[in-house]
Symmetry: C2
Subunit: 220 residues, 2 copies
């Protein structure tokens, strides 16, 4: 038995203190004019991982971003024209990096736009379900992955980091406990730099030290 085969992408970012998801407005049936996850058909002979890269590139202009597989969604009724199996992937991009790069290249979608995770429109197909599943996984893995750091610019303040945690978890955290936990973890590099252009006390800037993080994971 054969099935059509697509990829759908859950692309997260962080802006205005909120976790955002990139959606596209469809310009073709079915679900014309609906918002949906960026997604395409995989081409014949194309490796799934290559298809993922291609689609990510076509929607964001980004390259060399690792996307993690969420799983397959294969409901017979998820597409009105019969089964179309989709494998969902997710990733996180820095908002600054993609701000001016979001450009729909294909004609089947009209525009791409960021939506706050708690203000999603109604979505085509089973894409709402895909997002919810992805979000749960993101929350569950927040302490074992580099996800939060992908949300932030290279140099960031501790308050920004805390806001990113809070955006993912959907709840507020205690400032002192958060800072203790982070500084104990030992994979932030403290810079000799502070914020600029703020009208209050400037905060110290930090960098994520991926090396040390990887090492700590290696202990098992």
């Amino acid at each position: 038995m054969q099935t059509h085969f697509t990829i759908d992408c859950v692309i997260y970012s962080f802006n205005e203190g909120k976790l955002q998801v990139l959606l596209t407005e469809r310009n073709e049936y079915p679900y014309k004019d609906w918002w949906a996850l960026p997604g395409f058909f995989v081409e014949k002979g194309e490796e799934m991982e290559d298809a993922v890269k291609r689609i990510l590139y076509e929607h964001t202009g980004l390259k060399d971003i690792f996307m993690e597989q969420l799983g397959a969604f294969a409901g017979v009724k998820r597409h009105p024209q019969g089964r179309i199996l989709t494998v969902a992937f997710s990733t996180i991009v820095k908002y600054e990096d993609v701000k001016f790069k979001i450009k729909p290249i294909t004609s089947y979608m009209r525009q791409a736009k960021w939506f706050a995770i708690d203000e999603l429109p109604e979505l085509a197909f089973d894409h709402h379900q895909i997002i919810q599943q992805s979000l749960r996984k993101l929350k569950d893995s927040i302490n074992y992955s580099t996800a939060v750091y992908e949300l932030l610019p290279e140099k960031f303040t501790l308050t920004q980091l805390q806001q990113a945690y809070e955006a993912i978890l959907g709840k507020t955290l205690d400032k002192r406990n958060f800072r203790k936990k982070i500084s104990n973890s030992g994979f932030l590099k403290e810079l000799q730099e502070v914020q600029k252009g703020v009208s209050y006390r400037a905060a110290r800037l930090y960098k994520f030290d991926k090396r040390k993080f990887q090492k700590q994971l290696g202990i098992e």
Copy 2:
């Protein structure tokens, strides 16, 4: 673009103190005479979850077992005849329940057999990779899932439970700490029964209280 679509099952069990995986010996090309995960094509119009149940049934005689999705494997070269996308699922069955039910129904495989996880033969396709990925997930989730209890008979001793943990994790655990942890968790029901037929002090039997377990998870 279309692709063939199969399901592969990683079925775990526990016997002779070891974690076991059920494999089938193929009787058709490609990979004739090789060992492989039990797997079939999904039928047209068949829901993926139904296909999973069907395949599990055909190989083990078991019904109403929940299988968890591991993910999609879609390498263009994973099958010599071109891309065959497979979605891998995994589950755990009680060895006693299936001991006499393992019966290949289809003719494309010659026999089904349990293999200890650390004594696997060479496997067809990318099945070794699928198993390794599944095993990592099993280890990671051992404390948040009912997996270990699926390995054991309904009534079991604490030592048996500890052995199941050790089989999954691949390492030994401290007896007292293990018992403390388990009895603190509060989802074991102590029975007024002990082991029979052993030539040493008979151990108390316990049951897993799924209700309480679910409740504890609900706290988040």
